[in-house]
Amino acid sequence: MKKTVVIESAWCKKCGICVEYCPVKILELNEDTVYIKDSEKCISCGKCEQRCPDYAIYLQKTE
Amino acid sequence: MKMEVRLSGSGGQGLILAGIILAEGAISSKLNAVQTQSYGPEARGGASKSEVIISDSEINFPKILKPKILLSLTQKSLNEYLKDVDKSGIIVVDSSIEVECREIANIYKFPIIDSSKEVMGSSVAANMVALGVLSQLIDDIDTENIKKSMIKRVPKGTEKLNIAAFEKGIELFNMSIHANH
C-alpha cells in the first residue's frame, strides 16, 4: 500500500507552506494553486499535509 | 452633482485606501464626500468593497444602493455587485475579468493589474492604477488633489511609485478614449 499526494485546489490559499517544507522540493505554486512538479519523487513524508492550514494537500492510500 | 463610486475586489487589494484618497481628493476640491466600506472577518475571503459618494451639496445617507461607477478588480466582486449598477452607469474592470452584460453601456476594461506589475513589479499598486482611471471619469475632482492625498496616505518611501501607478491609470484611460474615437 502506497500513499500518493493529492491536491484539493479549490481549498488552496497559496500560502506556500507546503512548498517550503517539502523535503524533496517537488511542490510549486502557480496563480491559482499549488501543484506537484514531480510526483514520482514524493517520499510520502506527510509534512505537507500536516502543515497545510487549509487541508488542500494530503496523502491518499492507493493500492 | 452627485457621484456614487463603488470600488470592489478582494481584501488586501487596497481599495479602502483608494476610496479614502478619492474622497479626500474630492474634499480638497471643495466638494463633499463620504467614504464607507465593508468590514469584518467575512469580508476576508469574499468580495470586499469601498464606497465613495461625492457631491457639491450635503450628503446624508452614506451607503450606495445604485452605484454610478463600479470598479471591480476580481471576477467574484463583479459578479456580486454588477446587478446593482444602473443602466446608465459605468463599469471599470481589470482586463482579466469577463463581463457578461449587455445592458450597461459604459464598460471599460483596462490591464490594471498588469500595469501595476509593469510599474511596481507587483500587483500591489493596482489600486492606484485604478484610481488613475477613475480620476478621469469624475471631472469635478482636481487630479492634483488626489495626488496630494495619495502622497500623504501611502507608506513613506513608496510615494513615487504610487504616483507613477496613478499616472499609468490616467494614461490607460486616455489611450482608450483615443482608441475609441
Partner: protein, 383 residues
C-alpha cells in the same frame, strides 16, 4: 482644503474631539466596530503626555478609566455592545461616586455576538437602564462625523461639569463613516473643567449637599485624603446605612441632572415649522430621515425631523413643543422600537405614533422611509 478640513472617520473624530476636550487617559479593550478609537488613542496620546493602556477586559478598562478620573485625568473608554454589557456594573459605580468619565459605545447588531460588523441602535435603552439600581445618566448620540467631534467635547464637558459618567452612543454607521470635518481651533469650543475645592483640606466634603448639587472634586494626591465608596455614603464620603442620608444623596444625584436640562438637552429641528408629519430619530438614522424629507418635500409632503442628540435624559418638553401641532409621528430607529417608547410616553395616545424599525443589521434607507410614509399617510398626503 485648509489645515483644519479633514476627512475623518466617526471613530477618529471621537478621539480628536476627546483630545480637544482634554482627554489625557484612555483605557480600552478592542472590539469591532469601536477598535479604531483605541488604536488612534494609542497613537496620539503618548505624543501629548497622555496615557493609553489596553486592559485585560472591558471591566478592567472602565475601572482604570474611573481610577484615572479620580486621579484628576479626563478619561475615556470605548467599546461596543458585548463590552458595554460588561461595563454596566462600573457605570453605576461611576455614577454613585460621581467620577467624571466618558464611555463610548459604538453600537453593533446584537444581542450577544450578533453581527459584529453590522449597524444597529439597539443599545439605547441599555444606556439608561443597563446597570442595576436607579441612577441618572447622560447619553449623547451624534449623526455626522463633525457632530461626533462636537458631542465628544460636550460629553467631556458634561462629565466634568456634573461629575458624572457620560455615554457617547455612536452607531456603526457614523463610527465607520469617513466624511469632511472642520476641526475647531483651540478655544473655539468651550472646554469645561471640574470644579476644584478651595477651602480647608480638613473640612473638605467630597459629597457635600451644595447648592448647585455638584460638590467640588479633589484629585488623589492633592492632600485631601477623602474616601470614595460605592456604598451609600454621607457628605463626607463615608459609608452610611442611614436612609435619610441615602435619600439625600440619591436626590442630589438626580437633581444635578434634572435641574440642568436646559444645559444638557441637545436636539435639532429640520423643516419642522410647517410640518404635519414629524420624523423622530437619532444617530446615523437622522441621515436617512433627512434624505427622505428632501425627496418628500419635493412632492409637497410637509414633513420634518426632530433629531435627538441628547438621548438621555430624553428631551420630553421640547418634543411636546415641536409636536404640538403635528399629529403624525414616525420614529425611525435601527432597533425593535426603543425611542418610540419614550415618544409614546411623552406624547400620549392622542397622537398617531408609528415606528420604522429594522433589526437585521441593515440600515433603514431613505426609500424605505418614503415608502412607509406614503403607505401610512396616503390620505393625508393626497389632501
Amino acid at each position: 482644503m485648509t489645515e483644519r478640513t479633514k476627512l475623518l472617520q466617526g471613530n477618529e473624530a471621537c478621539v480628536q474631539g476627546a483630545i480637544y476636550a482634554g482627554m489625557r487617559f484612555f483605557a480600552g479593550y478592542p472590539i469591532t466596530p469601536s477598535t479604531e478609537i483605541a488604536e488612534l488613542s494609542s497613537l496620539l496620546l503618548p505624543k501629548i503626555k497622555g496615557k493609553f493602556i489596553q486592559m485585560e477586559d472591558e471591566i478592567a478598562s472602565i475601572a482604570a478609566t474611573i481610577g484615572a478620573s479620580l486621579a484628576g485625568y479626563k478619561s475615556m473608554t470605548a467599546t461596543s455592545g458585548p463590552g458595554f454589557s460588561l461595563k454596566q456594573e462600573c457605570i453605576g459605580y461611576a455614577s454613585l461616586v460621581e467620577s467624571p468619565c466618558v464611555i463610548v459605545n459604538v453600537q453593533r447588531c446584537g444581542p450577544s455576538t450578533g453581527l459584529p460588523t453590522s449597524p444597529s441602535q439597539a443599545d439605547l435603552m441599555q444606556a439608561k437602564w443597563g446597570t442595576h439600581g436607579d441612577h441618572p445618566i447622560i447619553a449623547l448620540s451624534p449623526s455626522t462625523v463633525e457632530e461626533t467631534f462636537e458631542l465628544t467635547v460636550k460629553a467631556f464637558n458634561f462629565a466634568e461639569k456634573y461629575r458624572t459618567p457620560v455615554i457617547l452612543l455612536l452607531d456603526e454607521v457614523v463610527g465607520h463613516l469617513r466624511e469632511k470635518i472642520e476641526i475647531p481651533k483651540a478655544g473655539e469650543l468651550e472646554i469645561v473643567n471640574r470644579k476644584k475645592p478651595t477651602g480647608n483640606k480638613d473640612e473638605y466634603k467630597a459629597y457635600e449637599y451644595c447648592e448647585d448639587f455638584v460638590p467640588p472634586m479633589a484629585s488623589i494626591g492633592e492632600g485631601y485624603r477623602y474616601n470614595v465608596t460605592g456604598l451609600m455614603h454621607d457628605e463626607t464620603g463615608f459609608p452610611t446605612n442611614s436612609t435619610s442620608e441615602t435619600g439625600k444623596l440619591m436626590n442630589r444625584l438626580f437633581d444635578k441632572i434634572e435641574e440642568n436640562l436646559d444645559d444638557i438637552l441637545i436636539y435639532d429641528e429640520y423643516k419642522t415649522d410647517d410640518a404635519n408629519i414629524l420624523l423622530v430619530s437619532f444617530g446615523g438614522m437622522c441621515r436617512s430621515c433627512k434624505d427622505a424629507i428632501k425627496k418628500l418635500r419635493k412632492e409637497n409632503v410637509k414633513i420634518g425631523l426632530f433629531s435627538v442628540k441628547t438621548v438621555w435624559p430624553f428631551p420630553e418638553e421640547k418634543l411636546k413643543e415641536v409636536a404640538k401641532n403635528i399629529d403624525k409621528i414616525v420614529v425611525v430607529e435601527m432597533n425593535k422600537g426603543q425611542m418610540i417608547q419614550e415618544v409614546q410616553r411623552t406624547l400620549g395616545k392622542e397622537k398617531d405614533i408609528i415606528g420604522i424599525n429594522k433589526i437585521n443589521g441593515e440600515v433603514i434607507t431613505p426609500i424605505e422611509i418614503i415608502d412607509t410614509i406614503k403607505e401610512e399617510y396616503l390620505r393625508c398626503l393626497v389632501k
